[in-house]
Symmetry: C2
Subunit: 202 residues, 2 copies
DNA sequence: AACATTTTTTGACTTAACTAAATTTTTTTA
DNA sequence: TAAAAAAATTTAGTTAAGTCAAAAAATGTT
């Protein structure tokens, strides 16, 4: 008996009912109270919390909204491998012919969303306008950087930070007279995983 | 005609079919190829990509796996308010009687998951063991910090980073002879939003 | 112990998740 | 340019699981 079904086995729903229960209890709500707020029956909520049922995405969004978190919070994340990087040992990378240099601060965690880079921006460097999914947070450590964000323009000095959604068109330039250095962190998964070229250290 | 249904209107599924299509095309796959890999029918995939149908969480996980991303990538994110902080203007906060001081680097973005803090760690300070949901990334800017992570212990020097899942029990201590400073970034939404006490600047 | 509240279980409905196949559209080939 | 092939969309249908209300069980309060 040949099963013509393709490559992928049916996947267990990647939902952690326990996380819903933990949040609800932390908020001091009964099942009934939360089910009222979320617009579902108390019996179903009980089942969802004990992984005896799986809500549709729409219903999950209602629960997330009632508990004041985003859907991601309920998604079960697989075990991950922790990672350490050493400032003295990290390699710098550049993309294609760009003078911009990067050091990877984060690691590829299965199911993870966090990506972080140390970005070295030469004097006079100016990036292209770009946008993509996810949040971004910039911590400027050294130098002076002009950051555009939609119709806005900001001048960042050392110590300043900027936190924004990455789907707003944005660009940056080093407008100072020393190289700039920033910690860039994003929740856009793996979209920066382009071809990388190791460079010699300064 | 009184509708006894409670507070929450039925929620539109927060799924962006367009993001699935974009990823599929970027990967150079036909609908048929991806549907084979994901174990669903080609017709259904077409409908999902055009928001004419909503997959179950299990099926969505199959799609995510076939495309090599996490489920979060497909979730439609609402508009957010961008935020800037200035190093010279940020207030420091402490929790209860702790000598640990924080500066908020990020903002509360609706549906956002990214939280970032500048943490000032006095000489000799040692935190309690803690754990919570989400990823964490530490960039140590100054000083020497001992970080425990499960059964492992790391000594971080300026420039070093650590990236790990927050549900591993962890703690940190300043074991150097100068105050330490780190950028802490996490994807655990709002779990650090405890009572905060403004402090005078140094 | 009695009562109230909360949670879980149960049996049932219904609708949307998902299919295969037909049709249409787009791309490729000669 | 026409025909063939490939890709995408539409359609009609099945079915199982999302979800319910109510009953039962468990837990909490007095």
């Amino acid at each position: 008996m040949n099963d013509p079904r393709p490559a992928q086995a049916p996947e267990k729903p990647p939902l952690s009912g326990q996380r819903i229960r933990d949040l609800r209890r932390r908020a001091g709500l009964t099942l009934q109270a939360l089910s009222d707020q979320a617009g579902i029956s108390v019996g179903f909520l009980s089942q969802v919390e004990r992984d005896k049922g799986t809500p549709s995405l729409g219903t999950l969004a209602q629960l997330a909204s009632a508990l004041g978190v985003s859907i991601e919070y309920f998604i079960a994340t697989p075990r991950a491998n922790d990672s350490i990087t050493r400032g003295q040992e990290r390699e710098r990378f550049a993309i294609a012919d760009s003078s911009l240099q990067y050091e990877g601060l984060s690691t590829d965690l299965p199911g993870g969303t966090l990506t972080s880079l140390m970005i070295h921006i030469p004097v006079g460097y100016s990036s292209e306008l770009t946008k993509h999914a996810g949040e971004e947070l910039i911590v400027l450590l050294e130098g002076t950087v002009r950051q555009t964000l939609g119709d806005s323009t900001f001048v960042l000095n050392a110590g300043d930070t900027l936190h924004f959604m990455g789907d707003t068109p944005h660009s940056f330039a080093n407008i100072g007279d020393v190289p700039a250095r920033m910690v860039w962190t994003g929740t856009s998964p793996r979209l920066i995983g382009q071809k990388r070229t190791p460079l010699a250290r300064d």
